[in-house]
């Protein structure tokens, strides 16, 4: 079976990261509902296997550029969850000192070049990071995460062409949850997404994003191709979005039955547990222990975020320019 050659340690890490994302997002949803988080968030729950399946192949020096739905990518790339939670609460201890919030979480030291409020913002940035790697001979790869909506942005199309002609070590990870906000992709996406890569002569794969092992395997090939200097790959990852588009979205453009079926039949964590259980790789007790640890970590993050101070007012005008 594909991917099951992963070590126990890697499997546990994959599960921990996916669970961490799920618990983080469910908790952010609850905190939003209670009115304690300012603004808006776009939750990634349901899509965990995509971020983790890809990022598990990445080193710290590899780069990712993300979307408005960026929490999962951040966690998978190793961002500190305490700092992320504090950022979402708008606190001084936030990973961006409270200046960016949910949609702009970034940690350059971890290779996380930022969530992004602009659909189509990430692909050019990821190409730039790949260019740095290519020119400086670093053998690092970069990943541009985008949605099925973002695939229609000119920047994405232009970046794909650029990456292919320059043979940039970049992966276009298209997370297709079937919707761009409230609009179903059937109304706005023409043709097969993978064909867009094919037309450019770019390598591509279509993957079931509920299956961590499938994502992991396809991503592994894409990363190796990039490291070998053979250029970009497009991964078309089909994945469910559990919550509405944003935290206050009534999500009434899908029926309750559709949503229930999605959670019941398309849960990457349930799928993962079943697979490792069938293959007798990890026991339930081990996985339950991870669940408990993750829960405690998120509880801690929320508690710390709540207790943290607001940013000092003097920071309003800092960080505009580099000061010498």
């Amino acid at each position: 079976m594909t991917g099951l050659q992963l070590s126990r340690e890697q499997l546990l890490k994959a599960y921990r990261l996916m669970r961490m994302i799920r618990v983080f997002e469910d908790r952010v949803s609850a905190e939003m509902a209670s009115g304690d988080i300012p603004g808006n968030t776009h939750l990634y729950a349901g899509q965990e296997a995509s971020a983790v399946g890809i990022c598990l192949h990445l080193r710290e020096s590899d780069r990712i550029a993300s979307t408005h739905r960026g929490h999962g990518h951040c966690i998978a790339k190793g961002c500190d969850v305490d700092g992320m939670m504090a950022e979402i609460f708008g606190k001084e201890t936030g990973i961006c000192r409270g200046k960016g919030g949910s949609m702009h979480i970034a940690d350059l030291s971890k290779g996380m070049l930022g969530a992004n409020g602009i659909v189509g913002g990430a692909p050019p940035i990821a190409c730039g990071a790949a260019l740095t790697s290519q020119i400086l001979g670093r053998n690092d790869v970069s990943v541009a995460f985008t949605g099925d909506g973002g695939i229609n942005q000119g920047t994405t199309a232009e970046s794909m062409n650029l990456a292919q002609v320059w043979k940039l070590p970049v992966i276009f990870a298209v997370e297709d949850n079937g919707f761009g906000e409230a609009t179903a992709s059937s109304f706005v996406v023409a043709g097969e997404i993978t064909k867009r890569a094919e037309a450019l002569g770019m390598a591509f794969a279509k993957v079931d994003g509920v299956d961590f092992f499938a994502v992991h395997e396809a991503a592994g090939e894409a990363v190796e191709r990039a490291r070998r200097g053979e250029g970009p790959t497009l991964l078309h990852i089909e994945t469910p979005r559990y919550y509405g588009h944003f935290s206050g979205d009534p999500d009434n453009y899908r029926t309750a039955e559709e949503k229930a079926a999605m959670r019941r039949d398309r849960d990457c964590l349930v799928r993962f547990r079943r697979r490792v259980d069938e293959a007798k790789l990890l026991g339930s007790d081990e996985l339950d222990k991870v669940d408990a640890e993750v829960q405690a970590a998120i509880d801690h993050a929320v508690k710390a975020a709540r207790a943290a101070a607001q940013p000092a007012l003097s920071t309003l005008t800092t960080d505009v320019y580099v000061r010498y």
Binding site: G117, G154, Y253
Partner: protein
């Protein structure tokens, strides 16, 4: 007259014009919103619900969800406008117009001039602007000075439901490209709005309030803070005129100069960043045309020269408020020539 929300006023304007003129179409992400998703019609009506009901009334040919491809659909709207339609494009946040500046700045804005006056471009681009919803740097800007800078574009910033309806009808009937900016914090504010269609002309400032001691020129949401400041000051015996330009292009320079001459003191309130902003521009017009009437330096109350921060306390400090406006007026009134 009926009390209606800003959102409802805009919806009525769209309805009136779509009913009246079959060439008016509405384009944007989620403007039909979820129509077509299982069992749904008009689930969203745009991210802020302004286009709700239009799909049912006018059908999918005239109310179109677009891909997230602003260059393509804003440019297509410009092309449709110069060939006979009157498109109204909805862009959720004005910040996203960054994606398609070429189609606005180099194409739509220039057709008429470059083609020797032969082209008309009856295009309206509606977008929300402004800080105050904890949406951080990429969803909170007040970019109207940038559009105001470009000749060929008209720029409209309504502050009340009444103006929102009349200005939007005017914008749709107008034969130039119009950037129509709605402060998202104002959508639920209410005011008197007639049921029928009416227009509010461009380039005519609204004198919101009259007083002889100082003139406060305020734009969009800032008009509300200016009025609040004026009320506070009235209790102290300082009487202010509050002037709402309503459109920054064309700009009613005459009324601004006239009110300056009447009061001799001016405070300009602008939510945009200060450099090359509206406050700077209006200030220069006053300095050039009414210098002799000034009893005090022109005061500007603007956002700082920073992106919009996320943290609530920082964002609150970012946005000009009634207190800062009142302080600026007091300073102008207290000013003594040495």
């Amino acid at each position: 007259m009926a009390q209606k929300s800003f959102r409802q006023a805009l919806n009525e304007a769209l309805n009136h014009e779509m009913r009246r003129d079959p060439n008016v179409i509405v384009l944007g992400e989620d403007v039909a919103g979820g129509s077509g998703a299982s069992g749904q019609k008009d689930a969203w009506g745009g991210a802020f619900g302004v286009t709700k009901g239009l799909l049912g009334a006018y059908g999918p040919a005239r109310v179109r969800d677009t891909p997230i491809s602003e260059s393509a659909f804003v440019g297509a709207a410009a092309g449709a406008a110069m060939t006979g339609l009157r498109p109204v494009v909805e862009i959720m946040f004005v910040d996203f117009l960054g994606v398609c500046f070429d189609q606005i700045f180099n194409q739509a804005a220039k057709f008429r001039y470059m083609f020797g006056g032969k082209a008309v471009t009856p295009l309206v681009i509606r977008a929300t602007y402004g800080a105050g919803t904890r949406s951080a740097s990429q969803h909170s800007q007040a970019l109207y000075p940038i559009f105001t800078h470009v000749p060929g574009l008209k720029v409209v910033i309504p502050s009340s439901p009444y103006d929102a309806k009349g200005l939007l009808i005017q914008a749709i009937r107008d034969n130039d490209p119009v950037i129509f900016l709605e402060n998202k914090v104002l959508y639920d504010t209410v005011g008197e709005v007639p049921d029928g269609a009416y227009t509010v002309p461009f380039g005519e400032a609204h004198i919101v309030r009259e007083g002889g001691d100082a003139t406060i020129v305020a734009i969009g949401r800032m008009v509300h803070f200016a009025r609040e400041a004026a009320e506070t000051l009235a209790a102290e015996g300082i009487d202010c005129t509050v002037l709402d330009p309503r459109t920054t292009s064309p700009l009613d320079e005459d009324t601004i100069i006239e009110m300056t001459e009447e009061t001799g003191r001016v405070v300009i309130v602008d939510e945009a960043n200060p450099r090359c902003g509206m406050a700077a521009d209006i200030s220069s017009i006053i300095a050039e045309n009414a210098f002799g009437a000034l009893k005090a330096p022109i005061m500007k109350v603007t956002a700082p020269h920073t992106p919009v921060p996320y943290a609530p306390n920082l964002e609150a400090a970012y946005i000009p408020d009634a207190k800062r406006i009142a302080d600026a007026v007091r300073k102008a009134v207290a000013f003594q020539r040495s």
